[in-house]
Amino acid sequence: MSKITIDPVTRIEGHLRVEVEQEDGRVTRASCGGTMARGLELIFGGRDPRDIPILAQRICGVCPQAHATAAAMAMDDAFGLADRIPPNGVLLRDIMLGANFLQSHILHFYHLAALDYVDVTAARGYQGSDPDLQSVAGFIDRGALAPFVPRYEGDYRLSREQNIAGVKHYVRALGVRRNCHEMLALFGGKMPHQCTVSVGGVTTQVTRDNIAAALSYVREVAAFIRECYLPDILMLAGAYADGLERGRGCSRFLCYGVFSEEGLFPAGLLEPGADEPAAIDADLITEDVKNSYYADDSNGLHPAVGRTEPQEDKPGAYSWLKAPRYDGKPCEVGPMARMLVGYKAGSAEIRQAVDGLCESAGIEVAALNSTLGRHAARALEAELIARKMQDWILALQPGEPCVLKVEVPDEGAGAGLTDAPRGSLGHWVTIEDGKVANYQAVVPTTWNGSPRDAQDVPGPIEQAIEGESIRDVDNPLEVVRTIRSFDPCLACSVHVARRKGDWNTVLPV
């Protein structure tokens, strides 16, 4: 038996360490740990509740929009405004979140994940007329190959032509993901970290020129997804077919539901083997800390009453992430969970998308539950969102209100449950004396990247790696491919809760 430590796991958001024990090339145990903490929820404590949708974006610079949305929903709830948001405000939140989904999915596939499959050096000696590829060939000739080398060597299976197509799309996708941010900034002022999503709606104005501009952007992005992203997924499925059999996680899928269009991405919990998803009861969410750097007496609490005492030298702990559990069990969240929950719930749009892809790839729906299946689900979801966003943009009403005038209540409590690009996202707030008294966020990678829980059941990523076969222990590509298929986002997932009044004693600065 030997141990492989991958620290840092790069090309993800944030700081992740993965340790695997292997015997004869098979993983016998995996441990997945977050290695950075800021304590943002503590920092949110005591503040004006209206500030949080803006500040919560700083949880993550890759998916800030999801945090702004969840925080605004939690505040709408706590302020008693949830059913009064102007239609323009609801649509703008959906459009802006959708734009961020597209940005995040395209960035993840091309710039974070693809380098585990595509060999950039294949563009060496390119003689053709494509300017981007000429540029890459010139870059290779100059000899300084960062940031593409060093890398794990070995198992790159695409043909030279396929690799060259992959490199071209890597470069093109840099512009496409940037365009997604520009589309969002039409309504948000800037990205990352827009300034308009707030309690009560969105603090901007809808104009005809912005509608036309957003529509133009989203059509271009949709075309890229159809012409490049989906075909590239099929290309990988052909060359790396074992990726459709590897990387099965806990096979219990959770989705809170996202976007206001009824039935598009329905909420639900899909148990292994179940024919249809069950309704979600948010009271069944708890967080364990047995293997996390937090004192044991806060184990097993619901996030709304979460109490956390960081204990950075706790014996046996290996992660700054807690272990969220639904009804005591781990759940996988993310595009694949959304697709499978939606499929089983009968979402017509999702059924059509999934069936179409499975037919093209010659696979069963169950094969989505795999390393490459997660990428496929992400691409399908991007295509669907880019299509639906065109309807949402056209439904905006120029000149109509986008936000309510709000007043901060003395007391209140609220929850904002939605889905981020990486999976289910919940924010919980309690307001006392007009200030934030308690704030909690349970984010996608806390679910997927969780350490073992109080019963020592591994988290979804840990389960997905355990049992994995590795060809070359010095270049464990199989392990990192599976980790990345979850699109981990670590800055999001490390969080510290606070109960009113106890931060100075618990956390000396």
């Binding site: 430590t5 620290d7 840092p8 796991v9 790069t10 090309r11 944030g14 360490r17 950075m36 903490a37 943002l40 920092i43 004006d48 209206r50 500030d51 803006i54 500040l55 700083r58 993550c60 610079g61 890759v62 960035l107 380098l115 540029s135 870059f139 100059r142 300084a144 960062a146 940031p147 593409f148 080398v149 060093p150 890398r151 794990y152 470069v171 840099l174 512009g175 940037r178 941010h181 520009e182 039409l186 309504f187 002022g189 800037k190 970290h193 827009q194 300034c195 709606g201 603090t203 104005q205 750097y293 950075e312 986008c402 936000v403 005038k405 990192v480 800055a491 931060w503 956390l507 600065v509």
Partner: protein, 291 residues
């Protein structure tokens, strides 16, 4: 380091990766121009280390640090540095955990230039907000405490505009290191004027026409705009292909390029006190406003 391969080492400490994502939003020069093409004829930025973009991983990624030419690379720090070192580790070498604090001190000492990218690195920013659980501090504070005298330039913003990062590198390369800085260590060419001086809504301020709520078209002063205490060229440059910026969209300026961000720049929607309104043309002061 005037030409050839300019090594950039991008370290992430207590931050959110937003600065990195903003860096990728660059247009002219674009991200491919920066990563692959030549930035200026004969000059290419070689992104030797960047945790979000680099192909390398595990110990192999960290070995890049050992191969850097001393005194001939730019260190870009994103995020702030925790006093409680275990709050941020960046990898493991020979079974030993490497804290970001330790690696930052090593690299800052060896670099030819230290760029504090974003307000967290420049001034402490979000993680240093009250009660600052990890004891996060600005790069410059940590460098001074450890006697590191490497030239330090701040490129604050939450996140900084991609042009601000690129312009700073370009100015540094073109001037042989003689970049004109304001008293807070920011390039004057970017941070020389107040938002308030160049704001498109300034005529409303002068005429006393104020928005009742954020999102209204008038001056956002009464709903908390921090433009009067914030130095940056947002109204002139605008964001995301020059499309928009915070105040133009209807959200008050949050003061995100300032050391006041976030403690003295919040509540976001609360009107600035009269005595914090500026004398136009005055330079930024060390420590921010008079308070």
């Amino acid at each position: 380091m005037a030409s050839g391969e300019v090594n950039i080492v991008w370290l992430q400490a207590g931050g959110c990766t937003g600065c990195s994502v903003s860096f990728l939003n660059a247009i002219h020069p674009s991200a491919p121009d920066l990563l692959i093409e030549q930035f200026l004829p004969g000059t290419h930025l070689s992104l030797s280390y960047h945790p979000t973009l680099m192909a390398g991983q595990g110990e192999g990624a960290l070995q890049v640090f050992d191969q850097l030419p001393d005194g001939d690379f730019v260190l870009a720090l994103e995020g702030s540095i925790p006093r409680k070192e275990h709050f941020c580790t960046i990898g493991e070498v020979n079974g030993r955990e490497i804290t970001v604090t330790e690696k930052f001190l090593d690299l800052a000492d060896r670099a030819s230039l230290m760029l504090g990218v974003g307000t967290c690195a420049a001034f402490g920013g979000i993680p240093a907000g009250c009660p600052n659980p990890g004891g996060y501090r600005a790069a410059g504070v940590v460098m001074e405490e450890n006697g590191i005298e490497t030239p330090l330039v701040h490129v604050p913003g939450c996140p900084p505009h991609p042009d601000w990062i690129n312009t700073t590198i370009l100015e540094y390369l073109s001037t042989g290191g003689d970049v004109a800085l304001d008293p807070l260590g920011r390039p004057e060419i970017i941070y020389g004027q107040l938002i308030h001086e160049n704001c498109q809504r300034r005529p409303y301020f002068d005429e006393g026409k104020f928005a009742e709520k954020p999102g209204d078209p008038e001056c956002l002063h009464k709903v908390g705009c921090k433009g009067p205490i914030t130095y940056a060229d947002c109204p002139l440059r605008e964001w995301n292909d020059g499309l928009n910026w915070c105040v133009k969209a209807g959200g008050p300026c949050q003061g995100c390029t300032q050391p006041e961000f976030i403690e003295e720049a919040t509540p976001i929607y609360q009107e600035l006190a009269e005595d914090r309104l500026p004398k136009i043309g005055e330079q930024a002061k060390v420590g921010g406003t008079d308070e």
